[in-house]
Symmetry: C2
Subunit: 191 residues, 2 copies
Amino acid sequence: MIRIVAAARMTTGDKGPRLRTVPEGDNRARLVCPDCDYIAYENPKVVVGVVATWEDKLLMCRRAIEPRRGFWTLPAGFMEIGEHPEEGAAREAWEEARAELEIVDMLAVYSLRHISQLQLFYRAKLLSPKVSAGPESEEVGLFDFDALPAEELAFPSVHWAIRHFQEARGAASFRPFGNPTGDTGRMTHGR
Amino acid sequence: MIRIVAAARMTTGDKGPRLRTVPEGDNRARLVCPDCDYIAYENPKVVVGVVATWEDKLLMCRRAIEPRRGFWTLPAGFMEIGEHPEEGAAREAWEEARAELEIVDMLAVYSLRHISQLQLFYRAKLLSPKVSAGPESEEVGLFDFDALPAEELAFPSVHWAIRHFQEARGAASFRPFGNPTGDTGRMTHGR
């Protein structure tokens, strides 16, 4: 979660981009480094993840890192330069759960405006039930859908993606889901 | 197109983030400022745009800026911090074509890996045929689909989105389109 450290530095540090001003030719404030005029454009980041199953079991990871260390999540992380979103989702599944899988289709596009994330979740099929914890996971597991660690899910969008996956399974066809109506995905106590 | 100026500075300048190195705790090279250790994470950017119609006419803009100045495009641009993608798409339609519209649904998600863009196009209905050029457009127009400036389109993904829009119109239901198979969206002569 190095990004969070960097974000904190941008607003509180005394080095690097820290001056909020409208650059010439632009129409909104950006973070600028007053020492060298470097402009740090802040754009939303893309998070890519998978709802991956082996037979009828769901792959989940218990987080070894903050935020929400110890809580259960779906394999997901920041899309990197030079990859397609499906590739990023599969890479995250490997990094966090040593899972090999095949992407099936796009399940959902969630917009978490308060943390400037656009999250893309894909349905995926594991190629084998052989999974194990990567460095960012304390443990990984394959769960029956009626025995998920439902009280210990890390983030609202993990709830959403699991629910939408189950809705999609019962549907002849579906379009990618979005945020549940009116739900910003902001963390509230108990979720 | 300030972003391009900034990108050039990042690789050629003698100030700001310009050292490519793997930060502690990370697993890939990032651009770091050797003067203040600021890390400039480069993630893919999200571009949001619209295929917007008034009755049976398509809204297009002739670009007043590089790249591809003078060529025709769909209203689209970088998603900004703090907005949902649909809001960003509508904002771009206003900025580039002074168009007011209602977003209908997601048409396509294209991945342009060579320029690190994830492009989301939405279908939209104009609320009025009253459109006019914003500062980044030389002119705007409402075109019959059989009279599009097909030889003067700015980018491959403009071709794709228009084609996919027409495919979607004839379909009872559809899922968001992706890149045409095997097409990276890299610019080639004549497109």
